[in-house]
Amino acid sequence: MPTLRSASNPSSSPSYPKQRGGVSTPNKKRSRSKSTESTPIDARSPAKWSSPRRSNGGVGEICNGIVYSNLSKSPRKRLYDDHVEKPKWNPRDPAQMLAVKEALHVATAPANVVCREEEQKRVLEFCKACIEQEKAGSLYVCGCPGTGKTLSIDKVKDSLVLWSGEEGLQSPDVLAINCTSLTNTSEIFSKIVAKFHSRKKINGRLSVLQHLQHLFSQRHSSSRRMILIIVDEIDYLVTKDRAVLHDLFMLTTFPFSRCILIGIANAIDLADRFLPKLESLNCKPIVVTFRAYSKDQILKIIQERLMVLGYNVFQPLALEFCARKVAAASGDMRRALGVCRSAIEVLEAELRNASQEQEVDIVTFDHMDIALSKAFKSAVVDIILALPQHQQIILCATVKLFRHCKRKATTIGELNRSYSEICKSTQIPAAGTLEFSSMCSVLSDQGLLKLGQSKEEKLRRVTLQIDTSDIIFAFKGNRFFQSCLEQ
C-alpha cells in the first residue's frame, strides 16, 4: 500500500483534492456522495482516485437514500442527455439481446481497459525499464477479486510486445501461467525451462531449478532475449517451507537473469509474509495494488462495455444504483456484470409474461432492484419461516438457552433437553435423539447453527451462526413461538 500511495499521489491528488479527502469515515462518505450530487460527474472523465475498499454495507443504504431522493432532480438528468438520442433497444429482438448479453459477459474482454490506466502504466514502465536495461525484476500485483488484475496485465503484455517491436528491441518471450492449473508447485520451473529451451536438451544431472539457476548465473553470448513471466494466483505456490515461491523470486536476483516476474494474487502482504528473506537481499518485488472499484469506476466500465452496442439498454439511474450497491459491498466487477445480466433476465421474463401492448424497452430501476435484491439479500428471516416446525422449535430452544444462561455455546445434549422441554410444555411429540441430531446437522448445513466436532454425538458444540434478534423477529407474528420464547 505505501508504495502505491507514494507513487500515485503526485499525479492524482492535485486534480481531485476533494475526492481524496474524505473516504475513511462514514460521515465523510456522506459528504462525498453529497459532493457527487452537487457536481455531476461526467461519465467520460478520466478515472478518479476515490475510495479504497469499503467494507460495510451501511454505505450502500446511505447512497440509496440519496438516489431515491434524487429521482426528480434535474442536474442528473441533464448529465445523461447525450444518451437519449441513441436508437431504441428492442429487447424482443434475440440478436440484439444476445449482443447485450455478450457485451456484459465476463469472458468478453473490452477493447481498452478503462479505470486502470494508472496501474497499467506503472507496470508497463517497469517492464520497459527492465527490457531497456536488460536487467531482471519482479513485480507483485495484488487486489481484491474482480478488480481487473489479470485483464490489465494481459493488456500490458500485448502493449509491451508492440512497444518493443516499435523500438526495435528484441521482443520478450511471454509465459503466462495460472498456478491453479499446475499439478505440482515445482512444475512451474519446468514450464519456464521449456519456454527457454525448446530445442536444447536439459542436462540430466541437474534438477530443473538448478538448471535455471545455472543458466542465469553465467554470461551467455547467445541471445539476450528477455522473458516475461506472468504468474497468476501466485499464492497457490505457497508451500510449507515456501521454497518454491522463494526460489521463483530469487531467479530475478541472479547476475545474468533475464526474467521479468509479475505475480498476481489477492493478498496484499504476500511478499511480506512469505518472503521475508527477499527483503534482506534487497530484491523485494515492487507492489502494485489494484483497489476495489468505486461506484464511478464501475459505472464507467459498464458504460464502456455497452458503448459498442449503439443503443440504450439501461436507464442511467438503474446503472448507477447497481454500481453503488456493488461498490458498497465488494467493488467486484464480475459481480456488477452479473447483476446487470440478471436484471436483463428479469426484463426478459417480464416480456415473456406481459402482454404485447405494454412496451418496455429499457432496463429500469425496478428491474435492477429485483436483480440486486436477488444477489445481495440476506434471506435469513425467510429461511427461518420456511423451516419445518421442529427445526423452528430447535432454534427457539437455542435462543431460550442462550438467553437464560448468557452463554454463547452449548452442546447437543443440552439443546436436546431444552427442546424436549418445549415440546413437552406445548404437547408436541418430540423427535428422538437421532432424529434430533440429524435436524441439527440440517440446520448447520443451512448456515443457521454451527456444530463442532466431538467423539460423542451428545457433546458436540452448538453455536448460533445468526443473530438471536433475527430469530425473535422471525417469530414475532407467531403466537405459538412467542409463548415458547417467553417461558
Binding site: P94, L98, K101, E102, H105, V106, A107, T108, A109, C144, P145, G146, N178, T180, S181, T183, E233, Y236, N266, S330, D332, R334, R335, G338, V339, S342, E345, E348, A349, K374, A375, A379, I383, A386, L387, P388, Q389, H390, Q391, A431, G432, T433, L434, E435, S438, M439, V442, D445, Q446, G447
Partner: protein
C-alpha cells in the same frame, strides 16, 4: 444428419464382384430394385456350402506361433489356393485363421458386421426381402421411397397424402407417427388380405428375430467347416435397462460377449457405424445401424466407444489387442486339442458360459441361442395381476421415476431459462448456477428432468445439440479425479488426472479444435459440489474459472446442501461463481401431499387422511420428500403383509372385516406404524428385544437413577439393586459373572455407557438414553410384568 435418408434410384449391383471393398456401406436397400429378391444365402440353410478362402490379396493369415510346424506351413500354402479341394482341407488338423473369407458369394473380413440367423423359426429364413414395402400401398419398387425418422417405415413419395415431390430437407416424420405423438389413436393401413407383410432384415433385427455380430476372427476347423468368432450386438431392449428415451431407432450396443458361430448362419453384411460415420452415412440404405456404446453383459454397464478403438482405418491399438487375444486363445487350443474336439469345447465353455449355447455350437445342432441379457420373465409373475397395493408399493419406490415433478415448477422453469439462455445461441456464454437446499427436496431430480426435456427439444430441432456431463462428487475417489471424468466424457479417452487437467485447460482457454461436434456447448452438472473442496480449493477454482474464458462454452451447475458454500469459499472463487443461486426449500405439507398423491394417481390404495397424516408428520420434521415416500411405502407394505396373511388370522383383525368389498386401503393406523418404525430410534427396538436379565438391569438402572438422582453408578451398587429386585419379585437371582456378561453386552450395544478400563467392580455405568425411553420400551413387557412397578 440434416437430410432425410433418400433412396436414390441407382442400385449398385450386389454381386458385381466379391472383391469389392466391403468397407463402404452399400446403398442398395430401399431403392427400386431390379432384383426382386436378394437370394444370397437363403436358398437352403442346411446345405453346407463350400467356402472360398481368398488369400491372394491378404497373404498373411495371422501366424500363431513364431515357429510354425510343418503341417501348418503346408496348410497355409493350401489355403492360399483360391479353391482348396475339400479333401485337402479335411486332412488338416488345426485351425487356420483368415483375414478374409469369401463365403457363398459374400466376402467377409475381420471387423465386418454381419447379420446372424436365428435358426429357430423357419419363417425367418424363408425370405429375406432386400427391399422394403411401402407402408401404404404394400408394393415394392417403383419410385423413390422416404423413411420416417420415428417408426422407420418406408413410404412411396406418391403414396403420401399430400404426395411429396422430392425428399424434404431435414427430419421427416410420417403422418401416423405425428398423430400418435399428439396422442391420437391412428389406424395404420393394413396389408391386403392374403399378403403377408414382408419384413426386412433390419426389422427382424430390431425385433430380435435376427442378430447382428461383429467378426473378430475367421477360421477353419480341422474338419473343413468355416467358423467365425464374433462379438454380439444387442438392441437396447435387450439390455438390463431396456430401451431408453434417448436411444435412437437404429441404435445397437456392442457387447463383450464372444462366441464362435459357423459361417453358415451368417446372412449377409450390415453396417454398424460410429456416431460420426453414421451422420455422414444418412443415405446409405437400410442396413445401417448406430453404435455409440459398448455394453458389458456381466456388469450391465455402458462404456462409450472411443474413436481409436474402432474403425477399419485407425484401429491399430484396439484391434491389435483383441487380435492377440484371439491368437492366444487359439494357440492354447492348438496345443491342447489337436484332435479332441471335446477338450476344445470344455475350454471354450469354461471361457464363456454363453458360448456353449451360442449360435451354432460345435455340433451344428444346438440352435437355442442364449442371447445376452435376455432374462425371461417367470410365468407366475406375468400372470399375476398386480393389486393396487402392490402397484402403490412399486410407484412409491424412490428409484421409480415419477411421470411429473409437482411443486417444483418455478425452480424448473428457472433452471430451464438459465440453461437455455446459456446455450440457445451460437455463441454459448459460459455461466455458473449454484443450487442449494436440504436433502430430499428434488434438486437433482429437477435438473435431470429439465435436461431430459431439453434433450427432447434437441430431438425436435428446437435447440442446438449440447453435451451433458453429470458428475456426483460422492462418487469421486478424490476431487482431482473430476478432471479425468470430464475429459473422458468429452473425448472418450481415459488419461490420468494431471494430463486431463492439462488438456482441459488447453481446451477451455484456447477454444476447442475446429471439429464441429467438439464445439457443442457442454453442460456440467456437479452433484455434491462441496465434496470437491480441497485444501487450497484449486479444483473448484479451475472448474469455475473455465466458464469465464471466452471460448469455453461451458455451463456449470453445482448442487449442494449447504446454503452458504459460496461464502465459505475463497473470495476469488465465489467471485467467479457469479450470483446465480437457486434455493430449494423444504417441502411443506400440502406439497408433500401433492407429491405422494401424484405418484399414486390412478391407484386406489391410500386413504386420503393417511396421506395427509404422513405428509404433515414429515413436513413438521424435515420436509424431506424421500422420507415421506418411504413412510408411505412402508405403510403399504405393512398393509399388504396383513392382507396376505391367511384368512383365518385376518378374521381376527376388525379393520379388514370392515372392508366389505374386499378392497383394502392403507389407513392411518398403518401410517402410524410406519412412522413409528421410521422415526423411532433403533435403541427402543434393542431394549424391547434384549434378554430378560438385560431388561432387569435397565430397569434397575432407571430405578437407581430415580432414587439417587445421580446419572452414574458403580457396577457393585447396581448388582445389589438387581439382587434385591429379583428376590422381592420371586425371580431367580443371577450369578455375578452372568450379570457381568449381560452388562458387557449392553455396553457393547451402547445402551449403557461403561467407563473405560477393567475395574469391574467399581466400574461406573451410565444410561446412554433418557430414562423415558427405557420406560417407554419396557412398560408393557409381557414376560416380566412386574417391571412397570419400578418405572
Amino acid at each position: 444428419m440434416d437430410q432425410t435418408p433418400a433412396k436414390s434410384n441407382s442400385k449398385p449391383s450386389q454381386k458385381k464382384s466379391p472383391m469389392s471393398e466391403p468397407a463402404t456401406p452399400r446403398r442398395s436397400l430401399r431403392l427400386r430394385s431390379p432384383h426382386p429378391k436378394y437370394t444370397q444365402s437363403s436358398q437352403s440353410p442346411t446345405k453346407p456350402k463350400r467356402p472360398l478362402p481368398v488369400s491372394t490379396r491378404s497373404p498373411s493369415f495371422s501366424p500363431i506361433t513364431p515357429n510354425p510346424p510343418e503341417s501348418k506351413r503346408r496348410k497355409r500354402s493350401n489355403s492360399s489356393d483360391p479353391k482348396p479341394s475339400a479333401s485337402t482341407s479335411r486332412t488338416l488338423k488345426r485351425r487356420v485363421y483368415y483375414k478374409k473369407v469369401v463365403f457363398d458369394g459374400g466376402e467377409f473380413e475381420v471387423g465386418d458386421d454381419v447379420y446372424v440367423k436365428r435358426r429357430e423359426g423357419a419363417e425367418s429364413d424363408a425370405e429375406d426381402p432386400e427391399v422394403e414395402e411401402c407402408r401404404i400401398c404394400f408394393r415394392t419398387g417403383g419410385t423413390v421411397m422416404i423413411e420416417c425418422d420415428d417408426c422407420l417405415g418406408g413410404f412411396h413419395l406418391k403414396c403420401l397424402k399430400p404426395p411429396l415431390r422430392k425428399v424434404p430437407e431435414g427430419d421427416w416424420v410420417c403422418a401416423f407417427c405425428e398423430a400418435e405423438k399428439m396422442g391420437k389413436v391412428v389406424e395404420r393401413p393394413k396389408p391386403p388380405e392374403g399378403k403377408r407383410l414382408r419384413r426386412t432384415a433390419k426389422e427382424k433385427l430390431l425385433s430380435s428375430d435376427l442378430w447382428a455380430a461383429r467378426i473378430e476372427s475367421l477360421f477353419r476347423e480341422p474338419d473343413g467347416s468355416y467358423w467365425l468368432r464374433c462379438k454380439w450386438y444387442i438392441i437396447p431392449e435387450e439390455t438390463a435397462v431396456g430401451r431408453q428415451p434417448h436411444n435412437l431407432r437404429r441404435e445397437l450396443y456392442l457387447t463383450n460377449d464372444f462366441s464362435d458361430i459357423e459361417m453358415e448362419s451368417v446372412l449377409r453384411h450390415c453396417y454398424v457405424l460410429r456416431p460420426k460415420d453414421f451422420k455422414e452415412a444418412s443415405n446409405d440404405g437400410d442396413d445401417v445401424f448406430y453404435c455409440e456404446y459398448e455394453y458389458d453383459i456381466h456388469w450391465h454397464n455402458f462404456k462409450r466407444l472411443t474413436d481409436n478403438d474402432d474403425g477399419p482405418e485407425n484401429n491399430e491399438a484396439g484391434n491389435d489387442e483383441t487380435y492377440k487375444f484371439a491368437n492366444d486363445l487359439s494357440s492354447d487350443a492348438d496345443q491342447d486339442s489337436e484332435y479332441e474336439e471335446e477338450t476344445t469345447m470344455d475350454y471354450s465353455s469354461f471361457k464363456n458360459q454363453s458360448h456353449e449355447l451360442a449360435a451354432n455350437s460345435r455340433k451344428g445342432r444346438i440352435f437355442g441361442l442364449q442371447k445376452v441379457g435376455i432374462t425371461k420373465i417367470p410365468e407366475h409373475v406375468r400372470c399375476h395381476k398386480q393389486t393396487d397395493l402392490e402397484k402403490a408399493k412399486a410407484t412409491l419406490l424412490l428409484a421409480t421415476l415419477p411421470k411429473s415433478l409437482p411443486c417444483r415448477n418455478k425452480e424448473m422453469e428457472e433452471i430451464t431459462s438459465f440453461v437455455k439462455g446459456a446455450i440457445s445461441n451460437d455463441q454459448c456464454l459460459g455461466r455458473c448456477l449454484y443450487i442449494h437446499g436440504v436433502p430430499g427436496t428434488g434438486k437433482t431430480m429437477s435438473v435431470l428432468a429439465v435436461m431430459r426435456k431439453l434433450r427432447s427439444e434437441v430431438g425436435t430441432g428446437a435447440l442446438k445439440p449440447f453435451r451433458f456431463v453429470e458428475i456426483n462428487g460422492l462418487k469421486l475417489a478424490s476431487p482431482e479425479n473430476i478432471y479425468k471424468i470430464i475429459y473422458e466424457e468429452l473425448s472418450g479417452n481415459r488419461v490420468g488426472w494431471k494430463k486431463a487437467l492439462h488438456y482441459l485447460n488447453e481446451r477451455f482457454s484456447d477454444g476447442p479444435e475446429v471439429r464441429e461436434e467438439e464445439n457443442q456447448p457442454i453442460i456440467l452438472l456437479i452433484d455434491e459440489l462441496d465434496l470437491l473442496l480441497t485444501r487450497n480449493q484449486s479444483v473448484l477454482y479451475n472448474i469455475l474459472n473455465w466458464p469465464t474464458k471466452p471460448n469455453s462454452k461451458l455451463v456449470v451447475i453445482g448442487i449442494a446442501n449447504t446454503m452458504d458454500l459460496p461464502e465459505k469459499l475463497l473470495p476469488r472463487i465465489s467471485s467467479r461463481m457469479g450470483i446465480q443461486r437457486l434455493c430449494f426449500g423444504p417441502y411443506n405439507y400440502p406439497q408433500l401431499q401433492e407429491i405422494i398423491s401424484s405418484r399414486l394417481r390412478g391407484i386406489d390404495a391410500f386413504e386420503e387422511q393417511a396421506i395427509e397424516f404422513a405428509s404433515r408428520k414429515v413436513a413438521a420434521m424435515s420436509g424431506d420428500a424421500r422420507r415421506a415416500l418411504e413412510i408411505c411405502r412402508r405403510a403399504a407394505e405393512l398393509a399388504d403383509y396383513r392382507l396376505k396373511q391367511p384368512l383365518e388370522s385376518t378374521r381376527m383383525s376388525s379393520s379388514v372385516n370392515s372392508n366389505s368389498k374386499g378392497k383394502y386401503l392403507v389407513s392411518m393406523a398403518d401410517i402410524e406404524a410406519a412412522i413409528h418404525e421410521v422415526f423411532q430410534a433403533p435403541h427402543i427396538q434393542i431394549m424391547k428385544n434384549c434378554s430378560k436379565l438385560g431388561k432387569i438391569i435397565l430397569v434397575a438402572m432407571v430405578h437407581e437413577l430415580h432414587r439417587g438422582g445421580l446419572a452414574e453408578m458403580t457396577f457393585e451398587k447396581l448388582a445389589t439393586t438387581i439382587l434385591s429386585l429379583c428376590t422381592s419379585n420371586r425371580e431367580v437371582p443371577p450369578g455375578y459373572d452372568t450379570l457381568l456378561k449381560v452388562g458387557c453386552k449392553l455396553g457393547e450395544s451402547r445402551i449403557i455407557l461403561c467407563e473405560e478400563g477393567t475395574k469391574h467392580r467399581l466400574q461406573k455405568l451410565q444410561l446412554n438414553y433418557p430414562s423415558e425411553d427405557v420406560a417407554f420400551a419396557l412398560k408393557d413387557c409381557s414376560d416380566l410384568p412386574w417391571l412397570s412397578k419400578y418405572l
